[in-house]
């Protein structure tokens, strides 16, 4: 029975009103057809392409164009974006606030990205802080946190969190090649600060809907950091213990809050970490392959149980 036939039946039975029937029937036929998502993606791609071109042009032609012109143009962009945002923003509220206009979020995002370009240009050209990039990143992170909370914008919150991570010295691009102890410690400290900060802000009722973003970023960085310690050749026991604790905490959080991404994290990260420890001491292909067969089946069994208990029927 198609959706249209069911709607007809529900209307006849009085399960839905005639008005609902008319509206839902037209919706299921795609009338009207919403282009909301497509237009947002187009705006996002437009902003990103524009700033990428802007940054590229500035870096390539700085000598020919001249510092004054570049600095003036970037500043005008910046001022225009932030003037638009501050002049049109609704009164601040600690709860979730809808954007005053459909383009508002993208103007703010554009302004934030232009800020990055201008700051990078300033430091590269004039060495205002004598190459102390850490301070720029910290100041930028603070500024972006302010903007994200003032205008309730997740794009800018992500920029703030990544700038903050940059300050800690854990930009994502470092992960594949650098896994030394210093980065690991900074990464864990970053997770603690971000996780605790997010929790405190949520508890204080300040933009509680941001908490998921904090938690996901903190969890992923934490698992990567701890896992990198487990892969160390020596003194990995403590890291393995930390991995178990992190997995337990994530699993408990995921099951109690029914957030299954936090069930998926310990399943994958925990399995990789445990396998790294156990396979290390095994000799021979037969033992290793047997291990993977047995543990994969065991993991499947546990996950199916979890899915049946906490998941859903279709």
């Amino acid at each position: 029975m198609t959706i249209l036939a069911r709607l007809e039946r529900w209307k006849e039975r009085g399960a839905i009103s005639p008005e609902q029937y008319v509206y839902l029937t037209s919706l299921s036929r795609g009338e009207p057809f919403s282009l909301f998502l497509e237009l947002n993606v187009l705006l996002y791609a437009g902003v990103l392409a524009f700033v990428a071109g802007l940054g590229w042009t500035v870096t390539t032609w700085s000598r020919q164009i001249g510092d004054v012109v570049i600095f003036a143009v970037l500043s005008i962009f910046l001022a225009a974006c932030f003037w638009h945002c501050f002049s049109r923003a609704p009164i601040w509220s600690p709860g979730e606030t809808p954007a005053p206009s459909p383009v508002f979020d993208y103007v703010l995002y554009l302004g934030s990205l232009v800020w990055c370009v201008e700051l990078a240009y300033l430091e590269n050209r004039f060495h205002v802080l004598s190459g102390q990039w850490d301070l720029y990143l910290l100041a930028t992170a603070a500024f972006f946190f302010f903007l994200a909370y003032r205008f309730d914008n997740r794009f800018v919150l992500s920029l703030a969190l990544s700038s903050f991570a940059g300050w800690f010295g854990v930009t994502i691009s470092h992960w594949p090649s650098v896994q030394d102890a210093a980065y690991r410690e900074y990464a864990i400290l970053y997770c603690l600060v971000v996780g605790t900060g997010g929790a405190l802000l949520q508890r204080a009722g300040l933009k509680s809907h941001f908490f998921g973003t904090y938690l996901n970023i903190a969890a992923n960085v934490l698992f990567w950091a701890v896992l990198s310690g487990v892969f160390e050749q020596q003194s990995y026991g403590l890291w393995f213990f930390a991995l178990l604790v992190a997995c337990g905490a994530s699993l408990a959080w995921g099951l109690t809050r029914r957030q299954f991404v936090f069930v998926a994290y310990p399943a994958v990260y925990g399995y990789v970490g445990l396998s790294a420890i156990l396979v290390r001491g095994m000799a021979g292909e037969t033992a290793i392959l047997s291990y993977f067969v047995v543990t994969a089946v065991a993991m499947l069994a546990v996950l199916v149980l979890i899915a049946r208990r906490f998941g859903r029927k279709a």
Binding site: M1, I3, L4, I16, Q20, L24, L27, G30, P32, S34, L35, F36, L37, E38, L39, A45, G46, L48, A49, F50, V51, A52, G53, G55, T59, T60, W61, S62, R63, P102, V103, L113, V117, A120, Y121, N124, G131, R154, F155, S158, L159, L161, I172, I217, V263, V268, E285, T286, L289, F292, V293, A296, L300, V304, I306, A307, R308, G311, K313, A314
Partner: protein, 407 residues
């Protein structure tokens, strides 16, 4: 042919509608709860995260089990013997996938998907080992060796039809890309054959879709048609399919000297494809808007952007550092114009289209997507801190489009 009965799949579709409408407030909570009970499904599904993890562990288990079998029983087996066992494994995994669905009523559960995918992998490896003794792909034309990609394409298509797994369809299309390499050495002919096969698929889809406009199969056919249009576009765009845009010789690219693709093809063919890549996006967009098909609209928009991006290399013109800015202004301008034009219509609707959000899914995608996209963006556009103390800004020469400059 389909493993799931139409009524079950239709019920799942109805449940998705209900959830969406309840999320947007078109149904009250009481209504939603009552109607949800009424549309209970026997199929067992799970959420996306558990689905991915179940897929992952099934892949590990299957691969390890096959590996263990060969280590224990056939440690030094010749290629052909190993190939026969690969084929047996393919049959076993496929049967297991069918069994998992029929016995346990799994639906997009990860396990049955991974088993079907493994069956496809083992089938291709088995055929390769049995028929060709494990020799790897060679670009030299050899009709007989097209057996492996042909079997891969047919089996992927079967999985798409049987299990309804959307990603099996682009997998079949990828196998098709390898086919002409075995038939002809001519690059032009290869492009034409791939585009022709996709066009044949498109015609088949076009005959099927009208019957399913309002049922659960519409989404499946919509996605398949979108992939086929995209495939035709990519096969026709010689600058993309020859990977010129990703060429390592970026200096030559940006100065316009990288006109390699033009010389590899006959001039009439080359310029015909240029005309074609300009004509295709409007056609796809028009069809997408006429059918109100989200996937087709997306592919039309992607093709249009790719045409803009690849136009200058096509013409052998030099690209400029500000080209992305122009593209950005164009995209933003188009989005703003459409939004304003739609908003000015009665009730914010024109010709059956609106810029307003009508689905809870859109909000969900925006909530999930914005933090992820926000994280990706600064990595790609924020200039990297200097590596050496003596770097300086500028120095880009116009002849090299600034590619030789430091930062």
């Amino acid at each position: 042919m389909r493993l799931y009965s139409p009524s079950r799949e239709e019920t799942l579709r109805v449940r998705r509608f209900l959830k969406d409408w309840a999320g947007e407030g078109f149904l009250s909570k009481e209504q939603y709860e009552r109607l949800e009970v009424e549309t209970a499904s026997e199929l067992r599904s799970t959420n996306i995260f558990l689905r991915l993890v179940l897929f992952f562990f099934t892949l590990i288990g299957v691969a390890a089990a096959a590996g263990l079998f060969f280590v224990v029983f056939l440690p030094r087996a010749p290629q052909q013997i190993a190939g026969i066992f690969f084929l047996i494994f393919a049959a076993v995994w496929y049967s297991a996938a069918e069994f998992a669905v029929s016995k346990f009523r799994l639906y997009r559960y990860g396990i049955e998907e991974a088993l079907a995918v493994c069956a496809l992998g083992f089938l291709c490896m088995g055929l390769q080992a049995v028929v060709f003794g494990g020799r790897l792909y060679s670009p030299a034309p050899d009709e007989a060796r097209c057996l492996v990609p042909a079997a891969g394409a047919i089996f992927s298509f079967w999985i798409w039809r049987r299990f309804g797994l959307w990603y099996a369809f682009p997998a079949a299309m990828i196998f098709v890309v390898f086919l002409p390499g075995y038939w002809t050495a001519s690059l032009s002919a290869r492009h034409l054959i791939v585009a022709g096969l996709y066009a044949a698929g498109l015609m088949w889809i076009a005959t099927q879709r009208p019957r399913h406009r309002l049922d659960y199969l519409d989404d499946t056919y919509s996605l398949a048609e979108a992939f086929l249009w995209l495939g035709i576009y990519l096969a026709a765009n010689l600058r993309l399919s020859s990977l010129d845009l990703l060429a390592l010789d970026l200096g030559a690219q940006w100065s316009g000297a990288g006109a390699g693709a033009a010389s590899e093809f006959a001039r009439p063919f080359y310029w015909s494809t240029w005309v074609f890549i300009w004509c295709l996006p409007p056609v796809v967009l028009a069809r997408g808007f006429r059918l109100k098909d989200r996937a087709l609209i997306a592919v039309g928009a992607i093709a249009a952007i790719l045409t803009f991006v690849s136009n200058k290399p096509y013409l052998g013109w030099r690209r400029h550092t500000w080209d992305p800015m122009i593209l950005g202004v164009l995209l933003t301008g188009v989005a703003l114009f459409i939004r304003a034009w739609l908003a000015r219509g009665p009730g914010g609707i024109r010709h059956g289209f609106t810029a307003a959000r009508l689905s809870g899914k859109d909000k969900h995608w925006m909530s999930v997507g914005s933090p992820i996209l926000g994280l990706i963006a600064p990595e790609s556009i924020t200039p990297t801190p200097p590596a050496s103390p003596d770097f300086r800004f500028g120095g880009g020469a116009s002849g090299g489009g600034g590619a030789s400059s430091d930062f």
